[in-house]
Amino acid sequence: MKEIIIFQTLSFMLSLFVLPGYLSGQQVFITNEGTLKFKSDAPLELIQAASTEMRGAISPSERTFAFSVPMASFQGFNSPLQREHFNENYMESNKFPDATFTGRIIEEVDLRQPGEYTIRTKGMLTIHGISQERIIKTNVLVEGTKCTISGTFTVLLADHAITIPKVVHQKIAEEIEVEVAATLRIKSN
């Protein structure tokens, strides 16, 4: 069952990014420049970084979604060395280039109707190659052909097998706060 869902979501993503026009008559909201910020608030250091290259799509009719962000696209950090560490040591961005979240909207909302919604999304959050099922609360504002999403959630490093040496715990929080904001636009195929 689960495999089928994942397969569906993957093919759905493919249709979005690789084969536009494959699905016809379906309206989807997509973005290529969503923002994803994260913050590690450790006792000795505050690390913040953001990517503006989050790609994503929401299908209001299916109530499904898929989001992806390249790990290498994160900017910020407190030093270039830190960014290098982030990509090479912790996230292993060569091996696991993207973080993804794909799944379904729990609430039975019709995002084709303009309005403001607070929804909960249930899906698989994949970071560092490890998938975890998550429920993430999101605010959605639909205005015409635009759909703005925003939300925050936390990621436990241990959940995604991101191991950091114990001494570094004072500098890197074990729980990372993540903030998402994106404006998606409707695209009809």
Binding site: M1, I106, R120, E133, R134, I135, I136, K137, T154
Partner: protein, 953 residues
Amino acid sequence: MRSWWIIGACLLVGLGVLPGQKPFFRVHPFPEEFRQVRINEMLQASSNYIWLGTTDGLFRFDGEVVLSVEFPQPGGPFSVTALYEDRQQTLWVGLESGAIYFMDHSGALQLWEIEEGHPAAAITAFGEDPAHQLWISTYGEGLYCWKGGRLYNFSREDGMSGEEIYDMGVDSFGQVWCGTDQGISLVRWKDGSKVVEQLSLDQGLPDEIVRFILTDGQCGIWVGMHDGGLCRINPRSHKVDFSLPDWDLGVVSALACFHNREVWIGTETNGLFRLDLKAMELEPLPLSQGRPTNKIYALLRDSEGGVWVAGNTPGFYSTNRQFEFVENSPGDIQSVLACPHGQVWIGTQKGLFLKPVLRDTFLSILPQLPLNVISLYEDTFQNIWIGTFGDGVYIYRHSDGKFSHIGEGRQLQNGSVLSMDGAGPTIWLATLGGVTEFILEGDPLDNGTIRSKSYGQESGLGTNFIYRVMVDSKGRTWFCTDGKGLSVLENGAITTYSHADSIPLKAVYSIAEDHMGQIWFSTPDRGLFKFDGQHFSTISLKEGIRNLSISGIATTARGQLLIVHPSGIDLLNPQTGHLIYFDQEVGIPDAEPNLNTLHADNSGNIWIGLPTGLIRFTSLGPQLRIHPETHLERVSAMLEPVNWWEKNEFSHEENFLVFEYVGIWLTDPESVTYRYQLDSWDRDWIYANDRRATYSALPPGRYTFRVSSTENGAFKDEPIVSYSFRILPPVWRRPWFILLAMAALSALFYGIVKNRDARIKRIEKLKQETIKSQYEALKSQINPHFLFNSFNTLVAFIEENPKLAVKYVERLSDFYRVILAYREKERIPLEEELQLVGDFGYLLNQRFGDNFSLSIQVTPNAGFVVPLALQMLVENAVKHNVVSKNKPLRIRIEQVDDDYLLVANNMQQKFTAEPSTGFGLTGIINRYALLTDRQVVVEQKEGEFRVRLPLLK
């Protein structure tokens, strides 16, 4: 298999629903302003409170008062659809809106704040698995699990049969049973992944719409369905191991289960039923007269043997399941007999009555005979022995109606048979004319013979009036006599106990043997006695028995002693002596019962005949609560509630404390009384009826507040709730402060003393130095060398210049006078010292002529100096240096830096040093050190010997 057969039999007789003995329901009204609320959920918390989740909020019931609990957020109505208490005793409240609240220590509801947000669908149930994970079912979003600080969802895509979960329960294996429209989804975690299994029609479920799930640890999994009635599922094999066929009583909306005994069933259209699992008897339990309660919303089994019911009529109902009232029973019962196969016989003045198995009507037996039945017994041939008042005994067989009569005569000494008991073929008859022993040889109604033997006063019994006979488990036969105490027949010999230790025994009315083999008997005036074979002990009013007119006692299936008296029924634990009272609250009327009108059947139920009718007492297991549950509800300091569950220190100003406590005893809330004590304040327990204790002006110290509650006023083994706290002394009375203050004081004192010491020493030293210097000065001044030189100089003048000689002598005498005048002083004005030095200089000038010069350039009144300091320095200069024509000695005295005097001379040391005491310069330095912090500076610079003296103020 057998049960199926019985059900089949019931259906054959056409009685799908069978009536029987009825619980006594009390109705508890809701407060006027909440008349319209509907109760969705009921929960008994470990605090013993009953929580009611309604369409208009949460309510708490303490047995007497229904109290509305406020939600922290404004708005509403808050329709509570799920209630749960987890193992940490936290109350969880789920709303129709999907919001989830929990109750904090102070009893306030808090919104459950989680990152994932609350469901948007109605919460239908909570559950906790053995790994302490909280499960939440919703109607519309499937199942949630709070695991490791994160919320997980189980929906259709995870394999759930549906996302509209009517009800959910977690069993002791951690399996989560969810009832949906498509059967049951059985959910669990396995190695961190979701496992969902389906149970539906294919697996033997009678109906796929599952409305109610009961996962009560002791009962298996009971399932209530939309059309299929109810069934039970084995939690290990997941097989349906029981179901009721041909259910046509509608939707099952609630279930409650008494372990292996019966299941209470609430339906949506036909009211309340109960299924007796032993007799397979299904009977309706009407809740109210008038408008019937046909829609049942919630059922709850409490910890005291009670059942709570909420339905579509106002308020809610409770009953104590231990006491049931047999319908249609004749009144004024004189004797009761319950047979092993379920028949119940009743003897009254008007005859003998039989309640057949599974029927609630009483048939009149042998109506043709004028029977005044006062005792009943069933022999081994299942014949009923009917003891009458005055007419001997009848032996009756119900199967064919055959009977025989033994009247007063050769076999039976007296026709008034008050009591019968027996074992095997032996039957004992207690009469008003002694005791008769019958030994049956064959069925007496089938030509068997009866041998008889009589015992009376002549056989060793104290009297011929015998109220009761009992054969105990050791084969002894006990006789309760009127006026002559208790007698026992053992191995053919009668022993009579006319005294219980020192207490004289007169009439003994009733007798029973407990599970430990101890004999209990009741007397009309001294209460209850226990005889363990060696000693007697008594339980009377002091020990908590409410009424001494005990009419009967019997032992329950759980080994308690049931005591019947006109004030009701007391239940005694023979080991602890703890008593529980039952009376009108559970439906037992105030009435004087006849003697020995109770009988224990072989299932441990006790049938009690009262003037008003027949009561069945059921011994419920497992352990029922026997005490009110006492707990501290609030502690206030200075009338402000404090968070006492974590705070245990108060400042000395917070010494006005109020403790509010409560003991919840649902069986009879009004009977609860309290006692409390504040350790190290109250000398004794304080007995009270109200729920608060007030203490004002408590002095600082350590305290423990203890409180316990009782429902029977006895305070024997009631658990005590305690709260220890400290009132801190004010800062100035705390040890550290006192120590610190003492330390500071002693340091100050020490300082003063030390200072004074030092000053005294310094003064002493100064005095010594002064004396020394005076001595030295004097010594030097009258030193022969000086005198010799002075006189030589004088001699030179006398003839050449007598005037000058006179002047010289005057100056010399001036010099000595001044030394004498100043030697006592610590300091002298510079001016005076200068005059002295001037005199001295004059003397030296006269002696050395131009070879010596002294120049003084100072402001005369610039300050003070140590007396003779300048003189001594000048003298030193003369003493240590060559004074000659070639090498004249020049001494300068100047004021430098305003507050220093410089005494300088050109250095031309003598080759042969004058003998020196070493005192001169050192003495000056020492004396200055005692008077000022400013130093005397001695230096050799630019060929000069320079001494800088600080000018004193």
